[in-house]
């Protein structure tokens, strides 16, 4: 993960609240099995509208998204963060974030910075008055600068430290492997194990057929 200290890039005003992850990336794009290449999927429904902010030349190369409250609500899909990253966004500014989205962002090097809604409104106005205006996000000092607006933002200390150091979560945890093993020794016997598998007897499932397709209504699926 790249270290994040400060970033300057074109600000994109997204005047919408409750931007859920289905809007950030619709479910149809979740069928991919790779980790990159989601830039075309970002806000794909809205991008078919020529008036959408990312379709305007001044904003299309933006890297700092300035959104309304409750950004990233809904489904836990991390693809939302990948899509923002792949498009080129480095930071999202909003007055409130959904918890899962905020967690996912921190793990993928995307800065989710919490600003007061009044500051978001001021930045929106500045970005709309001067399209293409740059925004600087200084993670070290927790400051956002846009034209003559200077605003502080909130981020928890741990996420900030990890972003600044570019640290990988799993590596950090595995340093504590002996403690994990010690905990496992203490776990009670009643806690379930998935293996060996226990289940009710296998039964033949019938495959449903489309209405009026002229196929036999019920064909049994080979027993697994």
């Amino acid at each position: 993960m790249e270290k994040f200290t400060t970033h300057t890039g074109i600000g994109v005003p997204l005047r919408r609240s409750n931007v859920d992850t289905d809007q950030i990336i619709p479910a149809v794009y979740l069928k991919r099995v790779t980790r990159t290449g989601f830039e075309d999927a970002l806000f794909s429904a809205w991008r078919s509208d020529p008036a959408f902010v990312l379709n305007q030349d001044a904003y299309s190369r933006g890297s700092v998204l300035v959104a309304g409250p409750d950004f990233g609500t809904g489904s836990s899909r991390e693809h939302a963060v990948w899509a923002l990253n792949d498009y080129g966004f480095k930071a999202v500014l909003a007055s409130r974030f959904a918890d899962i989205f905020r967690g996912n962002s921190g793990k993928q090097g995307l800065l989710a910075a919490e600003l007061a809604q009044e500051d978001i409104e001021l930045i929106w106005k500045a970005l709309e008055t001067s399209p293409g205006l740059e925004v600087t996000v200084d993670l070290e000092r927790k400051l956002v600068t846009c034209g003559d607006i200077v605003a502080t933002f909130h981020i928890d200390d741990y996420t900030r430290w990890r972003l600044m150091e570019g640290l990988d979560d799993i590596g950090l945890t595995l340093e504590h492997e002996p403690e994990i093993s010690a905990y496992e020794e203490r776990r009670e016997a009643w806690r379930p194990k998935t293996l060996p598998a226990k289940h009710l007897p296998p039964v033949q499932i019938k495959a449903a057929r489309p209405v009026g397709a002229g196929l036999p209504a019920h064909t049994e699926v080979p027993l697994r």
Binding site: S76, I100, L172, P192, V211
Partner: protein, 475 residues
């Protein structure tokens, strides 16, 4: 020190206490895996040369984009087929138990865990799916995680987490005839808003919650995420133990006794303090439906589509205007006058056997409205088998409904079960976001009872409307 249920659960699972702003490291008892949010996690393991630490605490099912028709034939959609094949390959390579399409234990991950008896009180349960909150109905601390966290749990069986705040949601009184757990949770979300639960674990309590079956409790906890919460939970009680006893993975003999003794301690102390409290009276609830494009935009069925100009708060008014435009609704319309094209019965919210029985009770002896397509999609293959054993499939088929194989289906439209642009659905699922059930599709979230009555009448209806229909107007 007095503690809430969530706090006790947290303490029990701390492997390592965080210091200097670092989160606690929590042990994960059960990890559920499906095809959509796992491929990149397994890819990450492979790239780093890591394995799955505890395959014996991990289980995978295929659900999000499995077809519900022709499941014995190769999956037509190539990307879906690739994703499912990728899960099968990963399960094989990493030694993870998998229930594939056609297997009697295949189904929506949140239906399968409980029915196998793997979900139980006192566990931490995670899955790369926000509706993991469902399992909180058992008194488990269960929450959705992203793909990096899936990889983290696969590699370490732990998660670094900052503690949640706690919110008590007390539902007093008794539900009236025609109202269900779904109406309780939709009313809670409308009351506290889609962001109202952010940062919280919700604990549902009170007389109305105690009176609910396990499946109804799952419906409530399932939609905690729609209120913005990470998790929702209900303290375990005799209802919980009775549901679990005898299930394939439920503890047996001395383990059962030890477990029950432990589970009895899993409740919030009487003098525990919550960071927030909400109180609701179940007796005041009516069947609830959503009119907009987020689950907080809901109203009692007797109401009218809101008039945005009457909403004082700017963001809410703008959101309402946008929602009504998308939904193609005229402000002031009676909700009961809204005609739908599709009725979808299923999902991890309302795709269990009790939901299907409730629907069958209402539609038996009726024929669906001609203008409506009705899809009944059981939450798991076992639910389907059970329904067939009870003859429910025949009731649905003679009603004119389609009786499908198990999966997430039209809840999120990742398989061919989708709405067409402009189509309107009454859906027992959990999200009414723009395009959720298919691009341009319009969703009204409803209970199974409202879905059934709507399928008969063609417009948003409750079972009470059916009784009214049988009484002559001039009687």
């Amino acid at each position: 020190m007095a503690g809430t249920l969530a706090e006790k659960m947290w303490q029990e699972h701390v492997v390592r206490k965080g210091s200097g702003g670092a989160p606690d490291l929590l042990y994960i008892d059960l990890h559920l895996v499906h095809e959509v949010t796992s491929p990149q996690a397994f890819e990450g393991l492979r790239l780093a040369g890591r394995g799955v630490r505890r395959p014996d605490l991990t289980i995978a099912t295929e659900d999000h984009n499995t077809p519900t028709l022709n499941i014995d034939l190769p999956i037509a959609d190539l990307t879906s087929r690739t994703q499912i094949q990728t899960l099968r390959n990963n399960a094989e390579e990493f030694g993870v138990r998998i229930h594939s399409l056609g297997d009697a234990d295949q189904g929506i991950v949140h239906v399968v865990g409980p029915q196998l008896g793997l979900t139980m009180p006192g566990l931490t349960v995670v899955c790369g799916d926000s509706h993991t909150s469902t399992h909180g109905a058992f008194g488990a601390l269960a929450f959705g995680i992203g793909t990096s966290e899936v990889e983290h749990v696969l590699a370490t069986q732990t998660l670094p987490l900052a503690p949640f705040k706690t919110m008590a949601i007390t539902v007093d009184g008794a539900l009236r005839e025609g109202t269900t757990a779904k109406d309780i949770i939709l009313a809670i979300i409308a009351k506290i808003g889609t962001g109202g639960g952010q940062g919280y674990v919700l604990e549902y309590r009170g007389e109305a919650i105690r009176a609910l079956s396990m499946e109804a409790r799952m419906t409530i906890c399932n939609m905690s995420i729609e209120a913005g919460a990470r998790a929702g939970m209900i303290a375990p009680d005799e209802t919980t133990f009775a549901y679990l006893k005898g299930r394939p993975h439920a503890p047996e003999g001395a383990d059962w006794d030890a477990a029950v003794e432990h589970w009895h301690r899993l409740r919030s102390d009487d003098d525990a303090t919550f960071d927030a409290e909400v109180v609701l009276d179940a007796a005041e609830l009516e069947p609830f439906v959503t009119w907009g494009t987020n689950p907080g935009q809901g109203l009692p069925l007797s109401g009218r589509v809101p008039v945005p100009e009457e909403i004082p708060e700017d963001n809410e008014r703008i959101a309402a205007e946008r929602a009504l435009e998308y939904m193609g609704l005229v402000p002031g319309t009676l909700l009961r006058d809204i005609a739908v094209d599709t009725v979808f019965i299923g999902s991890c919210t309302n795709g269990r056997i009790e939901d299907l029985r409730a629907v069958a009770d209402i539609v038996a002896g009726h024929r669906k409205a001609d203008s409506v397509r009705v899809l009944v999609v059981p939450g798991s293959a076992r639910v389907r088998l059970q329904a067939e054993a009870e003859g429910l499939d025949q009731i649905f088929l003679s009603f004119g409904a389609e009786w499908r194989n198990a999966g997430c289906s039209m809840c999120l439209g990742m398989n061919p079960d989708q709405l067409k642009p402009g189509e309107r659905a009454a859906s027992t699922s959990n999200r009414n976001f723009e395009g959720r059930q298919g691009k341009g599709g319009r969703t009204h979230l409803v209970s199974p009872l409202v879905a059934a009555a709507t399928a008969i009448r063609g417009t948003l209806s409750s079972p009470a409307d059916l009784v009214a229909d049988t009484v002559p107007a001039n009687a």
